[in-house]
Amino acid sequence: MSDIIDGVNQAISLIVTLNPEVMHIAALSLFISLTATIIAALIAIPAGGFIHFHEFYGKRALIILIQTLYSVPTVVVGLVIYLLISRSGPLGVLGLLFSPAGMILGQTVLIIPIMMGLVISALSGVDRGISDTLVALGATGLQKILEIIKEARYAILSAVVLGFGRAIAEVGVAMMIGGNIRDQTRVLTTAITLETGMGNFGLSIALGIILLAVALIVVVVLNLITSGMSSDSQRIRGGPQG
């Protein structure tokens, strides 16, 4: 019990004093997972849109495969990426192993399926009448797709947030690809694993709290961006009065 109380106290002091090592670890975590989220979103949203808006042979099977990959273990992704980018692997020449870039690659691969699958279901959630209405209003194919994506923005946001959540919370890829090298590839989750193993519970708790705080900030910012796409906020900011 005293471990926990000590831990919380230590956590508060580490956060309040902006401990440089803790801040560095947090910043690296945020950088890697956010970059992975952005890359994954840039792939998953158009790809999910393509799958949703086109009819092709094997579409159903593809969606089932994507949904299955929601639950791929992080260590399996870690293993596959490891084999690909290790010196003897096909991408070995890029020297990505034990680097933040390699971790970004691993996390991107990890979260693409869940984002893509949720984007597809977000788009399927838009009333079929909306699509007909847009076409009848004279939308081109592209205009229609853009409006439907806009209509599904909140559900697509959830897909992106969930992807980010999975990226920043995972240990397997970060550990196997990054290697938990101090000042280079050590992120919040790998640091917590290490410090807990060494009995430094205070530091672990501090890192855990920071992990959640980082997630909170990212989710709030993403929500602001999304609601900025609708006209509610324009009016609040003194735009045209309704």
Partner: protein, 364 residues
Amino acid sequence: MIRIEHLSKAFNGAKILSDIDLEIKAGEIFTFIGPSGSGKTTILRLIDLLDRPTSGRIVFDGEDTAVSETKQLAIRRRMGMVFQKPAVLNATVSENVAFGLKFRHVPREEIEKRVPAALELVGLPDLSGQRAPTLSGGEMQRVALARAMVTQPDVLLLDEPTANLDPVSSDLIEDLILRINKKFRTTIVMSTHDMIQGQRLADRIGVIMNGRLVQVGSSAEIFYQPSGREIARFVGIEAIRGGTVTENRGGHALIRIGETCIEALTDVRVGQRVALYIRPEEVGLMPDDASFPRSSVRNHFTGRITKMVPSGPFVRVTVNCGFVLMALITRRSCTELGLVVGTNVVAGIKATAIHVLTDEKIDT
């Protein structure tokens, strides 16, 4: 304006529309009526080029519509469509109305002028800033109408525009349809399963049954001279079958049904088997003891009331006078005349109110 030739549509092998031929004239209100599932929505979707026909073709303003997607888009942009269930996007009313203009890359200043004008037209100028999904069904349908009209289409397609609305909202939409047609000379093609609405709005009516266009004509023609038994039933007339023409002098015929002789106007030749169609509103009822006013009423039959079903301010009375006759009487006259089930009555029908079809024609 729109010429439809041998148009057919099948989904997964099931025929929805077969061999429709029709010309819709510029500036008219043309209404498809027919029971649910008869293919009304399908034909409107085909006209708006939302679906492709299985066979046949549609010519829009002299232009064949079986062309590339780009050219189809240009044709579709000359039309506006309002669906049965209005779908609004999660944006303000103004933004919803502006979509068609935005898609056509109309300049912003122009959009800012035309959107309020369109909302004014449908009587919702105060709702421009409101979120569209918060509107009532009737308001949404008016927004959908404004959204279609803001692009100033040559043709406005309306698929059962009042099907899900309360009577007051329906009246509003009907008035708007008439106003739009008058003010902008917009050709309007609509569908409804509400015959009264069809009658109120349409210059011409096309009856669709089981995917076939079975009759096209003015509302008077459809309501008084249906060309078949199914159509008659749909417009509220039960056929009286089993008649034979016994005499015909220059279109003035005598028809025998059982023991009764009926005078009617028809060209059907002597000896032919016929069915009679009489609108229930055209049948007058009097108690048997009263002296029935002779005037121009040539046919009067005595019979007994077997059934009375209230229908709003009217009562639908079934009279058995050797054959089964339906009459639609106001509730008030029912009370005044003391009509109840079992009363013996005299039914009077003008010869001109009887529509005669040969029975062979009916069975096809």
